[in-house]
C-alpha cells in the first residue's frame, strides 16, 4: 500500500510539473501569445473572447504567484479554456471528441505489436544464430530505426494511392451515418487498417529486440540448464520456463514506451487524416491554437500517468515483494 501511495504521489508531482511548464512557457517567450493568436485567427474570433483567452493563460494584471495559483486551479478543475481553431468549442470538448479514436488506434496497434514482436523475439532467441535469427534480429533493429513518419507515408502511397486497396483518410466513409450498423462498423474497420498496421509496425522492432535480448540473457540461467537436463520437452522449456520470465521487462517497459507510441499515433493520424488527438492537434498547430496545444500536453501526460499506474498495479500483482514493502 505504501508503494502505491508513493507512486500516486509521484504522479501528482509529475502532473504538476507539466502544468507548471504550460504556465511558464508563454511567459518566457517573447511576444504576447494572445496577440499572436488574434493576428493568426483574423476575424474568426469575436473581440469579447480576448478577455476569455487572457484568462485561459492566466495573463491578468495580477502578481505572478496569484496568476500561478489561479492557473493551477483551472487546470485541476479541468477547465482548459477555449479553442481558437474550433472556436465555439472549449479545448476540453475538442479533446474528448478526438481521444477515443487515438486510444482505439494506440491500444489495437500496441496489442498487435506486442503479440507479434514477443513471439518473434522468443523464436529468434531460442534458435540464436539460426536462419530466422540472423535475418530477423538485424531487420528488427533496422525497423526500430525507421521513423513512424516514413512508415506512414510509404504505406499511404503504396496501399492507399498506388494500389487503391484501402481508404486514405478519415475514420469512416463520409456518406455513412455513425451508428452500430454493420455497414458503418465495416467502414470504420477498413479505415483503421492502414493507421493501425503502420503504428504496429513502428513498435514491432522494439518488442522483438527487447524480448530477444531478455530471453538470451535468461537462457544462460541454471534453471534452464537444469530443465534441459531433466529432459523437459522443448516447447515447455521455451514458453513456460524461459519466455514467461523473459517477458517481465517487456511488460514493465510497455508503460514507459507508451509516450513514444502516442507520439507515433500523432504522426500516423496526420498522415492518414485520422480524426484523433494528433490530427486535431495538427490543425491546432497550423492555426497557432495555443490553448489546444497546451491542453493536449496535459491529456497526453494524464494518459501516460494512467498507463504507468496500471503497470504498477500489474507489477504489484506479479511481484509479491512489492506488496510486503
Amino acid at each position: 500500500m505504501a508503494f502505491l501511495l508513493r507512486r500516486i504521489g509521484f504522479y501528482v508531482a509529475a502532473f504538476l510539473v507539466a502544468a507548471t511548464f504550460n504556465f511558464l512557457v508563454p511567459r518566457l517567450m517573447p511576444g504576447d501569445p494572445v496577440d499572436v493568436m488574434f493576428a493568426q485567427a483574423g476575424t474568426a474570433l469575436p473581440p469579447e473572447s480576448l478577455e476569455a483567452l487572457k484568462a485561459t493563460f492566466g495573463l491578468m494584471d495580477e502578481p505572478l504567484p496569484v496568476q500561478y495559483l489561479r492557473y493551477l486551479g483551472s487546470v485541476f478543475t479541468w477547465d482548459l479554456g477555449l479553442s481558437v481553431k474550433f472556436h465555439p468549442l472549449s479545448v476540453n470538448e475538442v479533446l474528448w471528441r478526438a481521444l477515443p479514436w487515438t486510444l482505439f488506434l494506440v491500444l489495437t496497434a500496441s496489442a498487435l505489436a506486442f503479440a507479434a514482436g514477443t513471439l518473434a523475439g522468443i523464436h529468434a532467441a531460442w534458435r540464436r544464430g539460426g536462419r530466422f535469427d540472423s535475418v530477423g534480429a538485424p531487420a528488427a533493429v533496422m525497423l526500430q530505426a525507421v521513423p513512424p513518419l516514413v512508415v506512414s507515408l510509404v504505406a499511404l502511397y503504396l496501399f492507399g494511392i498506388a494500389l487503391k486497396w484501402l481508404p486514405t483518410g478519415y475514420a469512416w466513409a463520409p456518406l455513412l451515418d455513425p451508428g452500430w450498423t454493420p455497414e458503418f462498423l465495416g467502414s470504420v474497420a477498413a479505415h483503421a487498417v492502414l493507421p493501425v498496421v503502420t503504428l504496429a509496425l513502428t513498435q514491432l522492432g522494439g518488442y522483438v529486440v527487447t524480448m530477444r535480448n531478455s530471453m538470451i540473457n535468461l537462457l544462460g540461467e541454471d534453471y534452464i540448464v537444469l530443465g534441459t537436463a531433466k529432459g523437459l520437452d522443448d516447447r515447455r522449456l521455451r514458453m513456460a520456463y524461459a519466455a514467461r520470465n523473459a517477458m517481465l521487462p517487456t511488460v514493465t517497459s510497455f508503460a514507459m514506451t507508451l509516450g513514444a507510441v502516442f507520439g507515433g499515433a500523432l504522426i500516423t493520424e496526420v498522415v492518414f487524416n485520422y480524426p484523433g488527438l494528433g490530427y486535431t492537434l495538427y490543425q491546432g498547430i497550423t492555426a497557432r491554437d495555443y490553448p489546444l496545444i497546451q491542453g493536449q500536453l496535459l491529456v497526453m501526460t494524464l494518459a501516460m500517468l494512467t498507463a504507468n499506474l496500471a503497470a504498477d498495479l500489474v507489477c504489484l500483482a506479479l511481484d509479491p515483494r512489492l506488496r510486503r514493502a
Binding site: F10, A13, A14, V17, A18, F21, V25, P26, M29, P33, V36, R128, G129, S134, P138, V141, M142, Q144, A145, V146, P147, L149, V150, L153, L156, Y157, I161, A162, N213, I216, N217, G220, E221, D222, I224, V225, T228, M256, L258, G259, A260, F262, G263, L266, I267, V270, L281, Y282, I285, T286, R288, Y290, I293, Q294, Q296, L297, M300, T301, A303, M304
Partner: protein, 299 residues
Amino acid sequence: MRSFLTALRGNPKAAVGAVIVAIFLAVALLAPVLAPAGPNQRVARPHEAPSAEHVMGSTRMGRDVLSQTIHGTRTSLAVGLAAGALVTVLGVAVGITAGYFGGRVDEGLSLLTNIVLVIPNLPLMLVLAAFIGQAGPLVIAGIIGFTSWGWGARVVRAQTLSLRERDFVRAAELLGEPAWRVIGSELLPNLVSLVGLNFIGSVLYAVITEATLEFLGLGDPLIVSWGTMLYHAQATSALQVGAWWEMAAPCLALILFGSGLSLMNFALDEVANPRLRTLKVPPALLAAVRARGAGREAA
C-alpha cells in the same frame, strides 16, 4: 575506441553501418560540390518525374529534389549531432552525479529524471516549438536536447551505482582522490561503451524528431532539411497528385541514415554485452562461465 575498431573489423554489421554513416557525413561536408543545383534554385518544371537530368525529379516549385536532399543532409545531420551530443552530455552528467554522490543528490536527480521520463516527449516539444514559432535548426536541436536526456540519465545512473562499489573506485577514494578525478578517470572510462550507445541512439532519435517537428509545420520553412522537404511535399499534396519522388528522397535518406546508425548500435551493444554475441556456445558452458564471473565479482 580500440575495442570499437576491433568490433568494426570483426563485425560485418558494424562495418556496413559505419560505411553508411561515413558516406552521409561526406555528403553533408561536400554538399555544395556534390549537388547538381542550389537547394532553392528553380531548375525544372513543376513536379517533373525522375529522369537522367533530374535523378530524383523536381518539386512543385521546380527545384531539384536530389540537390535539396543533399543540401538537407547538412541541416539534418548537424541538428542530429548537436542534439545527440546535448542529450548525451546532459544524461551522463545527471546520471553520474546521481549515481556517484547518492543520498539527497540522488533522490533529487532521480525524481527529476523520472518526471522527465513520464511526461510524453513529443507533446512537450510541440508546446515549446509552438510558442517559439518557426524554430530554426539550432533551436530545434536545443528543444530536443533539453527534453530527451531521461533515458540516458537512468541507464548511466544504474551503471554508475554498480561501478561505485568496485574495488578500484574504493581504492581511488581511499587514496584521497577528489570526486571529479574519481569520476573522470575511474568511472567515465568504464562507461565509454554505454555513453557511445547512448550517443548513437540519441543522434538517431534527434534526426527523426527534427524531421517530425518540421513535418508538423513547427520548423522554419525557409531552411532546407529532410523535415522541411517532407513538410512542403505534404503541403502541396505531392503524394495525392502522384509526385511520389518528392517524398521518396527524404524518406529514403532517413531510412538509410537510420539503418546505418542502428547497425552500429547493434554491434556496439554486442561489445558492451558479450552475451548478445552470436556464438554457438552451449548454454551449460555459458552458465558455468557466468557463475565464475559472478563469483569473482562477489569476492
